[in-house]
């Protein structure tokens, strides 16, 4: 992800107009009628990167511990989680979905979502 530092704590991504977010939203809607609220590829990458350590099911590197009283314990080290993600659909409506893999998250952010269905 290409980013440039700014005065705030959060990076600004190319094309963003941080100084007036409502205008950005409006311009975004005018510029791309078919998907006014679709996250940019950079945003999707950022979301997936944030989610990846939590939702991965990979056991690579996880340590198995034998318990004193018998049995085996594996510390997931923050993995094997599920995550709730949100975005707006083409009409601007909030759509929320739970994902438990980066593939599912990427699919949610890239495709046109709806609340439990498709409009077209």
């Amino acid at each position: 992800v290409t980013s440039v530092a700014n005065a705030g704590s959060r990076p600004v991504y190319p094309g963003e107009m941080r100084w007036f977010p409502p205008l950005l939203l409006l311009l975004g809607a005018c510029a791309s009628e078919d998907a006014p609220f679709r996250p940019s590829p950079e945003a999707v990458q950022k979301h997936v990167a944030d989610l990846a350590p939590a939702v991965t099911k990979s056991a690579d590197g996880l340590k198995l511990t034998s318990l004193a009283g018998g049995g085996v314990y594996v510390d997931t080290e923050g993995r094997m989680q599920a995550a709730m993600v949100a975005r707006r659909d083409a009409s601007g409506k909030l759509v929320i979905e739970c994902v438990d893999s980066t593939a599912a998250a990427e699919s949610f952010f890239r495709a046109e979502p709806t609340a439990k269905g498709a409009t077209e």
Partner: protein, 681 residues
């Protein structure tokens, strides 16, 4: 505000009925932020907190309490929660995540523990009756995005901290979100790596042990990694087999689902899977539709505001259903392609042309999608049912319809309900790779009603844990549901404490829960739903007529009506096609035809008669299927046989159907007129 202050506030939160297990939210936030944020706020939706921090904590504790009152464990469950920055931009965000801090297997757990099986920590503790965590850390971890609603973080949205699930269009329900995510941390989650199909360290988890692929007839535990990967993206082919979940599905998932049955031609006949949307009415509400298919033939599509761009409209096809239809579809079932415009337009256009139902052909591989209404104007007035078929099925049907008549019945699939298979096993979510969505650790989104552990937040969340509770019972929660010391799988009354296990009639059901303890009745059949099983009930249907003299002993019919006098009451006459005509008297017992039309009088109703007029020409190829015309004459060559053609166009004259008593006279008149005109010249 001090930590002690918000702890005190939390104690003032209205409590839920005594919990069976204490679920503790461990505040992992630093001073002054997250659940320690001192910003003053007004109480909302039953959450009495007066600071932002208090409300955040209270909302999470509310979700924890809701789970706590439904689960049983002697070991408290601790969830370490934090409110922190997560990835977001102006229109999308990561809201929250949650999971178990670890998994355990073969820990010497008590009742209900399966060997060689991973259990989420909280569940393992419950089975062992002790905290097994070697490090003494929390059982689960949860993180919530603290920036939602701020600039560049899902702007114009906000977390809703009320307990009443009244978050509105711009709110995100914290309690509902936390209930769902905590559900995963408690064990509603498979640890199978979707990317490789591999099991965690070679062992299945308690959840995956109940996953079964109905297409390959294989349990997930018996599959290779490659087989699991393939199964995970096979929509509505993977079910959860736990007996408690299956039993619950029979009373929870009761909405019938439609199917498309093609009756002719033979090249495409059979049953087709369809998925119903919420565009207009349902097949259940509108009744069985029997008709021929009509492929859309559109006029030029004119894009409407909010729908498509002009550039996209240029890609319109004649079969996408987006433009108005060139010809009438009266009495037909329209078949249109998915794409270009919203489903609402397709259905509206077909309805305006007279169609009685619409079949939308998916434009991507995989299973059909659930169609929902367009969210923009104009208002639609659709009243006909609409379903989607897969791309492969739809293409076959369109091709057949293009070369002849395709007769179909849009009806309800007997015995099958939304969200479960024919054996009432609930589907888990296995979206095709092309569809957005999460994986098997959710119920399938076709379930009706909406369920807590579906992947989509539907805005109608409640405090209920619905189908998840019986599934939890299956994976080990409530290993001894009635706490009588016997594990549920070997308890002859798992929901009624009976440590002595008395079973007087030796039918496998303990006396404490047997609806007929003196007569063996393993099926516990109880037609009238009273407290007495049929085997002991001399009036099984409670209609005041004793079974011995009841002409319909399991269907209430106090009037004993028996229209055909066959000794079997009308109320229990078989009527497979539900057209009101008992099968014994129905000339088409499997195809709804309440009018019983039988053009050729051969005893087979037209609706199921492949040669309705008895002229030896099958309907599929007969140019006049309802009137005998062995010669297949078609004077104007318009494809419609003369007997059916009230207006032959070739001569511009009305031609009486051949075989009609007036045909000879008509021809004589025409010849006379011709001769007269000839003379005048």
């Amino acid at each position: 505000v001090t930590r002690a202050a918000w702890v005190l506030a939390a104690l003032l939160v209205p409590t839920i009925a005594a919990a069976d297990v204490e679920v503790i939210i461990v505040n992992g936030d630093a001073a002054g932020v997250g659940m320690n944020d001192p910003t003053a706020v007004a109480p909302v939706g039953g959450n009495p907190g007066t600071t932002l921090g208090q409300q955040r904590f209270n909302a999470l504790q509310r979700a924890a309490d809701l789970w706590g009152q439904t689960l049983d464990s002697e070991v408290p469950i601790r969830i370490r929660a934090t409110w922190a920055a997560r990835s977001c931009d102006a229109t999308s965000a990561v809201l929250a995540s949650c999971g178990s801090n670890g998994f355990l297997r073969d820990f010497g757990g008590g009742i209900g523990m399966l060997e060689n099986t991973w259990y989420a920590r909280a569940l393992a503790d419950r089975l062992a009756g002790a905290d097994l965590d070697p490090a003494g850390d929390a059982d689960m971890v949860a993180t919530f995005n603290i920036n939602i609603g701020k600039d560049d973080c899902l702007e114009n949205a906000h977390w809703y901290y009320g307990f009443d699930h009244e978050e509105g269009d711009s709110g995100v329900d914290v309690v509902g979100t936390a209930m769902h995510e905590f559900g995963h941390g408690l064990g509603f989650l498979s640890t199978v790596d979707a990317a490789t199909g591999s099991l965690l360290s070679g062992f299945p988890d308690a959840y995956a042990r109940f996953l079964f692929d109905i297409q390959t007839n294989k349990a997930w535990t018996a599959m290779s990694n490659a087989e699991r990967m393939a199964s995970a993206i096979r929509p509505r082919r993977v079910v959860f087999t736990g007996q408690n979940a299956v039993a619950a599905a029979q009373t929870t998932l009761v909405t019938p689902i439609p199917r498309l049955r093609v009756t002719a031609p033979g090249s495409v006949d059979g049953n087709y899977e369809v998925v119903e949307g919420t565009l207009s009415t349902t097949v259940a509400a509108s009744g069985v539709k029997t008709a021929n298919l009509q492929v859309a033939n559109d006029n030029l599509f004119v894009p409407r505001t909010g729908d498509m761009t002009a550039a996209e409209a240029a890609n319109a096809s004649a079969t996408d259903g987006c433009g108005t239809n060139k010809a009438s579809m009266t009495g037909k079932i329209a078949i249109v392609d998915r794409g270009l415009c919203s489903f609402s337009y397709k259905v509206q256009n077909a309805q305006d042309s007279g169609a009685i139902a619409v079949i939308v052909v998916n434009n991507v591989a995989g299973s059909p999608s659930v169609m929902v209404p367009a969210t923009f104007t104009p208002p639609f007035t659709t009243t006909i049912p609409a379903v989607m078929v897969s791309q492969a099925d739809g293409t076959a049907l369109k091709n057949a319809a293009a070369s002849g008549t395709v007769s179909v019945v849009l009806e309800l699939e007997p015995g099958v309900t939304a969200g479960a298979d024919a054996l009432h096993r609930p589907f888990v979510n296995t979206p095709s790779v092309l569809a957005p969505g999460s994986s098997v650790s959710h119920w399938d989104p076709t379930a009706i009603p909406n369920l807590l552990m579906e992947p989509n937040a539907t805005g109608d969340e409640t405090d209920s844990v619905d189908m998840t509770l019986p599934a939890f019972r299956d994976i080990g929660w409530y290993g001894d549901g009635d706490l009588d010391g016997l594990p549920d799988p070997s308890d002859n009354c798992p929901l009624a404490a009976n440590p002595e296990q008395f079973d007087g009639d030796a039918d496998g059901d303990g006396d404490a829960c047997d609806n007929c303890p003196v007569v063996p009745n393993g099926d516990q059949a109880n037609a009238d739903g009273d407290s007495v099983g049929d085997a002991c009930d001399n009036d099984d249907d409670n209609d005041t007529i004793a079974d011995s003299g009841d002409n319909c002993p399991t269907d209430a019919n106090p009037d004993q009506a028996d229209g055909d006098g066959d000794g079997v009451g009308d109320a229990c006459e078989l009527d497979d096609d539900e057209d009101g005509i008992p099968d014994a008297d129905d000339n088409c017992p499997e195809t709804a035809n309440p009018t019983q039309e039988d053009s050729d009088g051969d005893g087979d109703g037209d609706a199921c008669d492949e040669d309705s007029d008895g002229d030896k020409i099958p309907d599929a190829t007969d140019n006049c299927p309802t009137m005998a015309n062995v010669d297949q004459d078609d004077r104007d060559d318009d494809g419609l046989g003369d007997p059916c053609d009230s207006k032959n166009d070739s001569g511009g004259c009305a031609i009486a159907p051949s075989g009609s008593s007036s045909s000879g006279l008509l021809w004589l008149m025409l010849l006379s007129i011709g001769a007269l005109l000839g003379r005048r010249r």
